[in-house]
């Protein structure tokens, strides 16, 4: 007879075992009183813990907890800072606050899409290579109407591959591409943002397999994308952020 499966024991106690497996286990428990005792004790623990804590469900919820949302909303509105002037809370509550979050989220999605399109490119990953870095940065700066900077990521093992001009909802977009020794690629997406200048916090978004850290600084949105784990990308994103926001 094979040993009792520990997972089955717990699944049995928690009521998740299918009928057939349950009958089989019942039979085994009859033959093994010490296991039967364990099952009895665990089942009892469930019942005891529920009787101990279920009464909390019937307590009135403290007003302080119900009041959490408006404060958080206001704080979120400040953090997002979109259309900072002239927007009342009433406007938010009507549900239109969705536009506030669509703006920063969409840059993450656009950046992730652009990353997914160009990062796997073998022969033409960029339009202008890093050999002509000054020209690249000058050209993209001119097209975006601001002074761009390609962050230096060599200390982290990422060399600039080059960059390209893309089109986005607000016009021209710059994409810088980096690569490490193993061919792992990162892209930095820079685009003009709609509306009043504002600054947002550093945010994270997972767009399918592409992780994106993004933020808005004044009139420009920045997004760093890579097919890697959040924490790994975060190390690079922090360096990029610091270099662009000295």
């Amino acid at each position: 007879m094979k040993a009792l499966d520990e997972t089955d024991v717990h699944t049995y106690v928690d009521g998740g075992l299918p009928e057939s497996a349950k009958a089989e286990l019942d039979a085994r428990l009859r033959a093994h009183p010490e296991d039967a005792e364990r099952v009895r004790a665990y089942t009892e623990q469930n019942a005891l813990l529920r009787s101990l804590y279920n009464p909390v469900l019937d307590e009135p919820v403290p007003a302080a907890l119900l009041a959490v949302h408006p404060r958080a909303w206001r704080r979120y509105a400040v953090a997002a800072g979109t259309f900072a002037l002239g927007i009342g809370l009433g406007w938010l509550v009507r549900g239109e606050f969705v536009t506030q979050i669509v703006v920063p989220v969409s840059i993450a999605r656009l950046a992730a899409t652009a990353h997914a399109v160009y990062a796997p490119e073998v022969r033409h990953p960029v339009e202008v290579s890093a050999k002509e870095e000054d020209h690249l940065v000058g050209w993209l700066s001119k097209r975006l109407g601001t002074t761009l900077k390609a962050p230096k990521l060599a200390p982290l093992g990422y060399e600039l591959v080059g960059g390209r001009l893309l089109s986005g909802p607000q016009g021209p977009v710059a994409q810088f591409m980096y690569q490490d020794a193993r061919g792992q690629r990162l892209t930095l997406y820079v685009s003009r943002q709609r509306g009043e200048p504002r600054d947002t916090a550093f945010r994270f978004s997972q767009e399918d397999r592409v992780s994106v850290f993004y933020w808005v600084d004044g009139n420009y949105g920045y997004a760093l994308s890579g097919e890697m784990k959040r924490d790994q990308l975060l190390q690079v994103a922090e360096v990029v952020y610091k270099q662009l926001n000295p």
């Binding site: 520990e6 997972t7 717990h10 699944t11 106690v13 928690d14 998740g16 005792e37 364990r38 009895r40 004790a41 665990y42 009892e44 623990q45 469930n46 005891l48 813990l49 529920r50 009787s51 101990l52 804590y53 279920n54 009464p55 909390v56 469900l57 307590e59 919820v61 403290p62 302080a64 907890l65 119900l66 959490v68 949302h69 404060r71 958080a72 909303w73 704080r75 979120y76 953090a79 549900g95 606050f97 969705v98 979050i101 989220v105 978004s205």
Partner: protein, 165 residues
């Protein structure tokens, strides 16, 4: 966004927090921090996915961070309790207070798992996602927690359920 979506989960978040930290006020603070964080991060929640599991994930993160940062006094005191069996009092009957005391003597990672399974009745899969740990870890923590509780409760049947307030 309909705020009722989150509000309807508050009683269960309170139940879990109370069971997790013991003290009523500390528990409600934990719920409050969780709710604030949930509102601020609501745009990260994917509609259609399990909101309750997502809220438990946030509560878990807040709990772990707070425990690390401030170290709940209760948490500390309880973790240092020696693992002695609870003596049956009053005519060999265990009471719910004993169960609570035993629960508190568990390491918090085991306590989280046993409460999510036993009280919140999440599936092992949901617990694994909520706590961000592999399912094998869920099972081993659950197993250790239950066995330790069984030993501390002396393995004897609890014959009377005296419901405490």
């Amino acid at each position: 966004m309909d705020r009722r979506l989150i509000i309807e989960h508050i009683p269960r978040l309170r139940r879990y927090a109370r069971a997790l930290v013991g003290d009523r006020y500390v528990a409600d603070d934990l719920v409050q921090d969780t709710l604030e964080r949930a509102w601020n991060k609501f745009y990260l929640w994917r509609p259609g996915s399990d909101l309750r599991a997502w809220l438990f994930t946030i509560m878990h993160n807040v709990f772990v961070n707070q425990a690390r940062r401030r170290r709940y006094e209760i948490e500390q005191a309880m973790d240092e309790l020696p693992a002695v069996a609870v003596r049956a009092t009053q005519g060999e009957q265990l009471e719910l207070q004993d169960v609570d005391r035993v629960l508190r003597s568990l390491p918090s990672d085991q306590r989280e798992v046993v409460l999510l399974v036993a009280v919140e009745q999440l599936t092992y899969e949901q617990v694994s996602r909520a706590l961000g740990i592999p399912i094998g870890t869920v099972m081993s923590r659950l197993s250790r927690a239950r066995e330790r509780m069984r030993q501390l409760l002396g393995g004897q049947p609890v014959t009377s359920l005296k419901v405490v307030k």
